[in-house]
Symmetry: C2
Subunit: 275 residues, 2 copies
């Protein structure tokens, strides 16, 4: 039935052959679409950008969740901002003592993922998740709790995601983070001009707030350029692997392992220089 096309830049586009356009809705915040595709299985797009596919969502979700959990295995209390598909929470809940507060702005995303993407959204059935539908900016402004891990699992810096890239938001996250805590955010790509500008902007905002602020990378073929970054920041915890290798092996992950953890911080020269 044709192709779904995502413009990576004005001059580069990725097209995916579609079996079926399963669902479409304009919510208060964004346009949600669910497609069935030949190559990537079912996928969700927000405002026309692929957010996750059944085929490779494991890469993003394993790298955003297991890396901090294995840098500081004492993490218990986690705040997830965004992440309405449930994939990040699913990975966090593999650790038996973790409890998650999740703040998603768009209730419709969760509803749609529960119906169409149970692979990730089944995580919301777990009683260790406290799901709130609210604006992440306001939540961190008013919250008085302390978290061991804050993950910003947001869209790109446009639409409802935009305010999650502002100084004020980062400052509030820093305030809510325990001394040994870790702040992780999706950090765009170093490759194309637009996303590289975002990468630099995010890094320059985080660096003054955290004594430890760096980025790490993963191969995510369904995101622009396939070279995707995450931010890692902490007051005290350097990003070494300190995990329980036996526990990790029991998860039977498909991407993340101890060597990948360490290697993820080895940035190519042009990425280092682009920061």
């Amino acid at each position: 039935m044709g192709w779904f096309t995502e413009y990576w830049t004005d001059y580069v586009k990725l097209s995916v052959r579609i079996k079926k356009h399963v669902f479409s809705k304009e919510t208060k915040y964004q346009k949600i679409d669910i497609y069935d595709s030949y190559e990537f299985g079912r996928f969700m797009a927000l405002d026309g950008y692929i957010m996750l596919t059944e085929r490779d969502e494991f890469i993003y979700h394993e790298m955003i969740a297991h890396l901090p959990m294995n840098a500081n295995p004492a993490i218990r209390k986690v705040l997830v901002i965004g992440g309405g598909d449930g994939g990040t929470v699913r990975e966090l809940l593999r650790y038996p003592d973790v409890v998650v507060d999740m703040v998603e702005i768009d209730e419709e995303v969760v509803r749609v993922c529960r119906e169409y993407l149970p692979l990730t959204a089944h995580a919301f059935d777990n009683p260790r998740v406290h799901l709130m539908f609210a604006d992440g900016i306001e939540y961190v402004e008013k919250a008085e709790k302390t978290y061991d891990l804050i993950i910003v699992d947001s869209t790109d810096p446009s639409g409802p995601g935009l305010s999650l890239y502002k100084n004020e938001f980062y400052k509030n996250c820093q305030r809510l983070l325990s001394d040994e805590g870790i702040f992780i955010n999706q950090h765009e790509s170093p490759y194309f001009d637009d996303t590289r500008a975002s990468m630099r902007d995010i890094h320059r905002k985080l660096k003054p707030l955290f004594p430890i602020a760096t980025i790490y990378q993963a191969f995510i073929p369904t995101y622009p350029s396939g070279h995707w970054l995450f931010g890692y920041a902490s007051k005290k915890t350097h990003p070494e692997f300190r995990g329980d290798e036996k526990l990790l092996a029991s998860f039977k992950l498909k991407y993340y392992n101890k060597e990948v953890h360490q290697a993820a911080f080895a940035l190519p020269n042009y990425v280092r220089e682009g920061l």
Copy 2:
């Protein structure tokens, strides 16, 4: 003037906005096209597949050349099979004592790159390169020399590249390689079914021939999935970094560095399992 489209699979395609179709010719071996694009500058396609772009050729060429050179800095005599654009040779020649025998099957590729892609092809002007137009299969069958490094810088396993993926060819490369020598080949991608099958096939042919046979990876956005592999094989030399960091810094490379060298071998679980 429209788009150049490359099918990554039957169901996924990448399209690149074109300024000008600069050159096109059907040679005895393949179709050569040169395009000027907005995002990637000038690029060459062989049989419709992007081989190199001005924008990011440095990633592939730095990773195929500097990694072995820094695993064994004593490398002097190098054989390059393929590599008609000159990028691999350009990187090798940064090391002052290296001499290169290069065997390219299609003289037209070299001629076209000399005319349209001097960024890489200028390397052929260096007297330390001995350029031969011949079939790489026959060359390694008949050669009696010993090489410290053999690089197979070929197209995918189809068209003129196909025979460079056969047992007989690998056995002859092994025979020509010094004890401390290193064999490197482009090793496809782990992500899509077709290239993953090639990856497995190549690895299963190399493993019985070399006590050390592994793969390493780089972020190459203009190749299918952006997650691209190289094969590394040797009789004796493990792939640790043993390079001269001062010399390396003097090259002002854009991708490769010591940390990237080590990290390149950290394979995600699904890639390990796919071998």
